[in-house]
């Protein structure tokens, strides 16, 4: 996959949630293209449709109308199993609350996606240690989440997201639970990964610290794209 190649394309994407007798239009004719290597952010107030768009790109939800093509697959046409496979093979997730598996070490948490992909043991070890190296946590590989700080937990979550070398990483408010210093550390790591590995990052955020790292800022309001700007 070459740099600049289209990974995600939405056309007239609409998502409507029924709310009793009324309907909530979460996304309203969203047309966007994301290319390989982008470091983009969806910004906007709560309820503007950021998480809904991430959900559809991440094949966790289906659009009401329009289409979303992710890695050459139409999300709206995927079965549950195919959607799971798309996520498993091509998409990494980073959550606001880390969501590490509490009874497993940092190493094992990072290893888990590779187990799902049935990667061999020796290859798993190499890739897990490489991912932990990337987030500078190789020395904490045997620690469990309860023994790690919030910033370290989020770095483990990043390692877990990148270990399978996905084309796309979706991060929903990844710094919301971190202090300023940890937020910058995390963002720096993600920027490096984007630069070195060419991984496409798409954030949903209203954190100014995150926005300051973005190369592309897409502003949503009431489910519409109101501004799409490249930041130099």
């Amino acid at each position: 996959m070459r740099k600049g190649e289209i990974l995600i394309e939405t056309k007239d994407l609409v998502k409507i949630y029924p709310m009793g007798r009324h309907e909530l239009v979460a996304l309203n004719r969203v047309n966007l293209i994301f290319r390989k290597g982008e470091f983009a952010g969806l910004v906007g107030p709560s309820g503007s449709g950021k998480t809904t768009l991430l959900n559809i790109i991440g094949s966790l939800d289906l659009p009401t109308s329009g289409s979303a093509v992710v890695m050459e697959r139409r999300v709206e046409e995927l079965s549950h199993k195919e959607a799971a496979r798309l996520r498993n093979e091509h998409i990494g997730f980073i959550f606001q609350t880390f969501n590490l598996l509490p009874y497993y070490t940092a190493y094992e948490n990072v290893e888990f996606p590779l187990l799902l992909l049935k990667v061999s043991a020796s290859e798993r070890r190499r890739r897990v240690m490489e991912a932990l190296d990337w987030v500078r946590l190789a020395d904490r590989a045997s620690s469990r989440p309860a023994q790690l700080s919030g910033g370290e937990c989020q770095r483990v979550a990043i390692a877990r997201a990148i270990v399978k070398q996905p084309a796309i990483i979706l991060a929903d408010e990844p710094t919301a639970n971190l202090d300023a210093e940890n937020s910058h550390n995390i963002l720096q790591i993600m920027a490096e990964l984007n630069h070195e590995l060419g991984t496409t990052f798409i954030f949903a955020t209203h954190d100014e610290k995150v926005i300051s790292y973005l190369k592309r800022k897409i502003t949503l309001f009431d489910g519409r794209v109101v501004k799409d700007e490249i930041i130099s």
Partner: protein, 424 residues
């Protein structure tokens, strides 16, 4: 993946220790109760065979029809030739004739007047034939609590309980008053050489053991006996073989319309034993079923609680691209591992208790004071090869069933709200 699951199970005690203990306890009870029922059935069969029914029993047809009333007037005549024939044709069994009799036991005072009388229920055994199996069948040496065993005709044994009631001592003389085979009055004198206790209340309440020839003489039953009992040489009842044997024997007399023709009945065919043993088997099956259902409900609830606790973990795994089917199967594998390990521990504990009670037993004599069942007063469990496996049916089955039901929640999970849920 299984290694990964195992690490989680071992480290997260709430998803391993509680279900493990539940399964272990349930399996232990299942194994123990199975062995207990087994022991009960074996004790029951063994006692009934030894003291009443044999593994097969031959009577005349009319005696068999009224066997409960001990109708010695309908006894089989020509026992010696029949015994010879049986030994020749069915050498895999030991054959022994018996006469059951009832009557009054009269104890005289110094001048020969009646001092005390009491009802007795006696069994005449082939005591003085060196080839007779009755000493070992009745284990008379072990049952003897005072005095000695009879050595010659005219000597008999009496239940220790009855002897105490009648204030008898070994060596005392008694008179048996009964009726002959023809219905006349029968009177015979005996010397009570010893007292016995079998540990079976129905026998110990008023039993008298006398030699077969003494009773044949006393009751005018020359070459006659009410019953001829057959025992497999290893004393293990084998119903299929016994049924075939009885069928074979009875077929030989099927054209004989004489009511005194011999009839062979298996242990199970006598006194409604088949129904009783059938009930015992049904009971043990129901018991296992109850444990499966009860444990499945407990483990289902445990699974539901576990699912609540692991809500976040399941969400992350789904978000990361784990297929719902794969996730569901992994939950089943986890529960199968827990179920297997719990069953292993439960079986070990259940077998330990069962082996102990097989060796030492539980004394229930105080509960059997008015019982007429031929059941030993020390209940013992019996461990069989199946005892090693039976616990795995409810242990693994209930674990899987409980998880299979609670785990269905995975399929109801909406991936569209995962992101929101995982932010919580």
């Amino acid at each position: 993946m299984i290694g990964f699951l195992l690490k989680g199970i071992i480290r997260d005690r709430s998803r391993s220790l509680f279900p493990f203990l539940t399964v272990s306890l349930g399996v232990m009870l299942t194994v123990f109760l199975y062995c207990y029922i087994n022991g009960l059935e074996t004790n029951f069969i063994d006692s009934t065979a030894r003291y009443a029914s044999g593994h097969v029993k031959i009577m005349t047809r009319s005696y068999a029809a009224e066997a409960d009333q001990i109708p010695n007037d309908l006894a089989y005549i020509g026992v010696n030739s029949l015994l010879e024939e049986l030994s020749h044709q069915y050498p895999e069994l030991i054959w022994t004739p018996r006469i059951r009799f009832a009557g009054l036991l009269d104890v005289p005072d110094e001048v020969g007047e009646t001092k005390i009388q009491g009802p007795i229920s006696g069994i005449a055994l082939d005591l003085f034939n060196p080839e007779s199996p009755e000493y070992s069948i009745f284990d008379l040496k072990r049952a003897l609590v005072a005095g000695r065993l009879p050595e010659k005709m005219g000597e008999a044994l009496l239940s220790a309980d009855l002897a105490q009631t009648m204030d008898l001592k070994p060596g005392d003389k008694v008179t048996l008053i009964s009726s002959t085979m023809d219905g006349s009055l029968a009177v015979a004198n005996f010397t009570i050489t010893g007292f016995i206790r079998f540990g079976i209340t129905a026998l110990d309440r008023g039993a008298m053991i006398a030699d077969l020839r003494d009773i044949q003489q006393a009751l005018d039953m020359e070459d006659a006996a009410g019953e001829i009992l057959g025992f497999y040489k290893n004393f293990v009842y084998r119903d299929k073989e016994a049924t075939l044997l009885a069928q074979n024997f009875n077929d030989r007399y099927k054209d004989d319309k004489d009511e005194f023709a011999p009839l062979m009945l298996t242990l199970k065919k006598q006194s409604g034993l088949a129904e009783l043993l059938g009930m015992m088997n049904l009971f043990s099956s129901v018991l296992v079923l109850i444990f499966v259902v009860a444990m499945a409900i407990v483990l289902w609830n445990a699974g539901l609680m576990g699912s609540l606790r692991r809500y976040g973990e399941i969400g992350v795994r789904l978000a990361m691209g784990e297929d719902k089917g794969h996730l569901y199967r992994s939950l089943l594998i986890e529960s199968a591992i827990i179920g297997f390990l719990g069953s292993l521990a439960g079986t070990a504990l259940g077998l330990a208790v069962s082996y102990y009670l097989q060796a030492h037993g539980i004394d229930i004599s105080s509960l059997m004071k008015s019982s007429s069942l031929l059941v030993v007063e020390v209940l013992r469990t019996k461990v069989t090869a199946f005892s090693y496996f039976i616990g795995f049916i409810p242990g693994v089955g209930a674990s899987l069933l409980g998880t299979a039901i609670s785990g269905l929640g995975v399929y109801r999970r909406q991936t569209s709200v995962l992101m929101k849920e995982l932010e919580g």
